[in-house]
């Protein structure tokens, strides 16, 4: 795209990420975007909550000192993933042997995170749909082709199997998506189309 970027809402990176100027991204050196990722306005991505190497673990877990050496990855987002307005991505954390530490958050390809959803999962597979206002608790694992319904609260540590639909507070498995889910252009496979229209209007 020719550089008319000065005015437009989205910054487009070399790999095709479209990032809103009004998004709040912390600790960019700890974030990996797979390319063609969309981050909308007011989305918060907490790359600053990265895991401290075990040597420094005992100092102060709540205020991690900046480590200039090899930046550990806090958040990985795959291709064609879409972080909607006011969504929050936070690396999961856990108290392990008396030390509170953060773990990486991995988000796969073609993932949709709805408006003002909060994601603290340990991993999210490909083609996952997180509805608006949903909460994915710390260290939860959301497998491929699953759907978290709007307003659901996936409890910490829950595993959402593939092809399952979870909803409610706390979230339970309420159904399954059809076999065609995730086919390009159908439900679950709209990521490219979503990406394409961003910044066009």
């Amino acid at each position: 795209m020719p550089p008319k970027a000065a005015k437009s809402e989205y910054i487009e990176t070399d790999t095709g990420n479209k990032i809103s100027r009004r998004s709040q991204i912390h600790g960019t050196q700890h974030i990996i975007l797979g390319g063609k990722t969309v981050i909308q306005a007011e989305a918060v991505i907490r790359g600053d909550l990265y895991r401290i190497p075990s040597t420094a673990a005992s100092t102060d877990p709540n205020n991690p000192p900046q480590q200039p050496n090899t930046p550990s990855v806090a958040i990985t987002v795959g291709r064609y993933s879409y972080i909607s307005k006011s969504a929050i991505l936070r690396p999961p954390s856990r108290l392990h042997r008396g030390v509170h530490s953060y773990y990486p958050l991995k988000i796969g390809d073609h993932v949709f995170v709805g408006e003002s959803a909060v994601v603290e999962a340990a991993s999210m597979g490909n083609h996952v749909h997180v509805g608006a206002g949903a909460t994915v608790g710390s260290m939860a694992i959301v497998k491929d082709f699953s759907v978290v319904l709007e307003g659901a609260a996936v409890p910490p540590g829950m595993v959402v199997p593939s092809w399952c639909v979870v909803g409610g507070r706390p979230a339970r498995i309420v159904g399954e998506v059809g076999e065609g889910y995730g086919v390009e252009g159908a439900e679950g496979g709209l990521a490219r189309e979503r990406y394409r229209v961003v910044g066009k209007s």
Binding site: G157, M158, W163, G180, G188
Partner: protein, 631 residues
């Protein structure tokens, strides 16, 4: 699950034609079909192919084709989002979840994603046999954690608990700690059955038997050895059982059930006069003596030889089946003061908060009444299922057995065969003066009587080009009559060829469209009758012009009050969701498919590149939006 506008649903034909028959489809235009009485004449209209036909409506009322009514109560059961539908290659028909049968491929725990072998599923009670538990209070998964968080790197030896990260319930609330972080289910079973036995079905049977042996040899003697004697000396047995109730009441419902089951089994085997009695052996329990005798009387004709004599003998002295008499046999005498104790507890401590809710109790054993009696629930298993066509039994979907895998060995989804419909409102650049549509119409509030253009894109996933014919009723069925016109009802969609082929052929034009269209692109483009809107490699977009009707009773309704009053009695549909603008569209597709081996004509010498003309027709429903009440 309702979807946001705009949406498209595809109707599975099974609702109308229970036995799918491709030949019938072909005849369907001639064959008279039943007309639902409440349908209005206008709704009966089907705008069959030719675009100019939309205005002359009255000439076509003799068409017997039935219009699909998305509002009819039956439609709820036939409309599916396109990705949920399957396609049977043998029946050449769309298949919905009601046209298929399912077979379980594997069982797995949704929490640990381990497969449970089918032999273990029953003994584990359909639940995960590992460390997966759900919170009895809120159903969230429980995590194994230590009580004391030992700082440092020493091996954590502390006692372990299950804790809920959602509602903060822990097993400490019911006073349970675990010694090891593994094999929690066995540990829990040992704790809950005071008798240290694994308490699930078959295993527990031996367990309780062993327990009975251990505790009171007398009771096993009575239960196994001589039932009749014990029944006769009922009083004696009763007193004996009363004596041992306090100390060896089987605490657990499961173990008690198992004890009763084994007890009655032995009773049946003893009292039944025929050892190969089908009632006694085949089923877990059988009828008591009297009924048993009756049954054998009726059944005697079939096995006269051996049993008639025995039957007579038993008539003279029928074997009597006794009931369980002591605790080791599974008898539990309700404590006299149980109810009072419960009431007292309710009144004195805890009150409402201490009582388990109905949802909580529904998952627990029947005696649980208070929250401190709730036990962690092992996670229920889930299944991976293969799906078969109900009519031809061919497999349509077969997932891989491994729980973690998302692959399919066979997956015949409808989307590979029928074109994928997508709908979006047409937004014209503001410079276009002729088009009346606003830049982006709000689909949740369409103004009545103002035309809206929507783009319907059909994307072909087959490797053959298809010819599509769309047809809609010119006026949508239901109380709110919206006018619909497909501007280009007949068009072709290209084949879903290899993307690389195309990229290698002509890198200059990524979207090889009609030259007229590509010429138009960039300029003002106005919806035009008879022309497709846009066209790509394997997709075609056409424009639908929709004039939303007026809601009855709204201020814009004055124009057609005359029609409305006449129709009111005829259209007796519910007024719920009447403002939702849904357009039924009949899709007829034709293509030339390569003949499959078994379908080639046997008589003819069939060439391998033989092409067979195929066609498929179905209804789909386009959810355009909601109509506003006022202009």
């Amino acid at each position: 699950m309702s979807r946001p506008f705009p949406y498209t649903y595809v109707s599975c034909p099974c609702a109308d034609t229970p036995v799918p028959d491709p030949a019938r489809k072909r005849r369907s235009r001639e064959s008279p079909q039943k007309q639902t009485p409440e349908r209005t004449e206008a709704a009966k209209e089907v705008d069959i192919p030719k675009p100019q036909q939309t205005d002359d409506e009255n000439g076509q009322t003799d068409d017997e084709e039935q219009t699909f009514d998305p509002r009819s109560p039956r439609s709820n059961f036939s409309l599916y989002p396109p990705e949920q539908l399957l396609y049977c290659e043998d029946c050449h028909q769309i298949k919905c979840s009601r046209c298929i049968t399912e077979e379980i491929v594997s069982w797995y725990c949704p929490n640990c994603l381990f497969e449970t072998p089918s032999s273990m599923v029953k003994t584990d009670g359909n639940r995960c046999g590992r460390n997966c538990f759900n919170c009895p209070s809120c159903t969230a998964p429980l995590a194994v954690s230590t009580i004391e968080n030992v700082t440092g790197n020493g091996a954590q030896q502390g006692p372990w608990v299950l804790s809920c990260g959602y509602c903060m319930w822990t097993t400490l609330d019911i006073g349970i700690k675990f010694d090891k972080p593994t094999n929690i289910r066995n540990q829990l079973q040992k704790m809950t059955d005071a008798t240290a036995q694994p308490a699930f079905d078959t295993r527990s049977r031996q367990g309780s038997r062993a327990f009975g042996d251990l505790k009171s040899p007398l009771s096993t003697l009575t239960s196994v050895a001589d039932g009749q004697a014990a029944a006769r000396d009922g009083g004696e047995g009763q007193s004996a059982s009363n004596e041992d109730t306090p100390e060896n009441t089987l605490s657990n419902t499961d173990s008690r059930f198992a004890a009763l089951k084994s007890f009655y089994r032995t009773q049946i085997s003893e009292t039944s006069n025929s050892p190969n009695d089908p009632m006694g052996s085949d089923f877990g329990f059988s009828s008591p003596g009297a009924l048993n005798r009756l049954m054998s009387l009726y059944a005697s004709s079939s096995r006269l030889s051996g049993l008639y004599g025995g039957n007579k003998k038993s008539k003279s002295k029928p074997p009597v089946m006794r009931e369980a008499l002591n605790a080791s046999e599974g008898l539990r005498i309700a404590p006299e003061d149980e109810e009072n104790a419960v009431i007292e507890r309710l009144a004195s401590e805890g009150g409402w908060d201490s009582v388990a809710s109905i949802e909580q109790r529904s998952q627990q054993s029947p005696e649980v009444r208070f929250v401190d009696e709730l036990l962690p629930l092992p996670v229920l298993l889930r299944t991976k299922r293969a799906k078969r066509c109900k009519s031809c039994k061919h497999i349509l979907v077969k997932p891989e057995t491994k729980p973690q895998s998302t692959r399919f060995r066979i997956r015949l989804i409808a989307l590979s065969y029928i074109p994928l419909p997508t709908l979006r409102p047409l937004t014209l650049p503001s410079s276009s003066s002729s088009a009346p549509s606003t830049p982006s119409p709000d689909l949740n509030a369409l103004s009545p009587l103002r035309p809206v253009h929507v783009l319907l894109t059909l994307k072909n996933h087959m490797f053959d080009p298809v010819r599509i014919t769309l047809a809609t009723p010119s006026v949508t069925p239901g109380r709110v009559a919206s006018k619909v016109t497909v501007l280009c009802p007949q068009f072709d969609i290209g084949a879903n060829s290899d993307v690389w082929d195309e990229a290698l052929q002509g890198a200059s034009a990524p979207i090889t469209g009609d030259p007229r269209l590509t010429g138009l692109r960039g300029h003002e483009k106005t919806p035009e009758a008879g022309k497709v809107w846009d066209k790509g490699r394997n997709w075609t977009t056409v424009v639908l012009e929709v004039i939303p009707g007026t809601l009855p009773g709204s201020e814009a309704d004055t124009s057609n009050i005359g029609n409305e009053s006449g129709d009111d009695k005829a259209v007796s549909g519910s007024t719920q969701d009447q403002d939702v603008l849904e357009i039924p569209v009949f899709v007829h597709m034709e293509w030339d498919a390569e003949a499959q081996l078994e379908q080639q004509n046997v008589g003819k010498a069939s060439k391998p590149d033989d092409l067979v003309a195929r066609e498929l027709a179905y209804w789909m429903v386009l959810g355009v939006g909601k109509i506003q009440a006022s202009l």
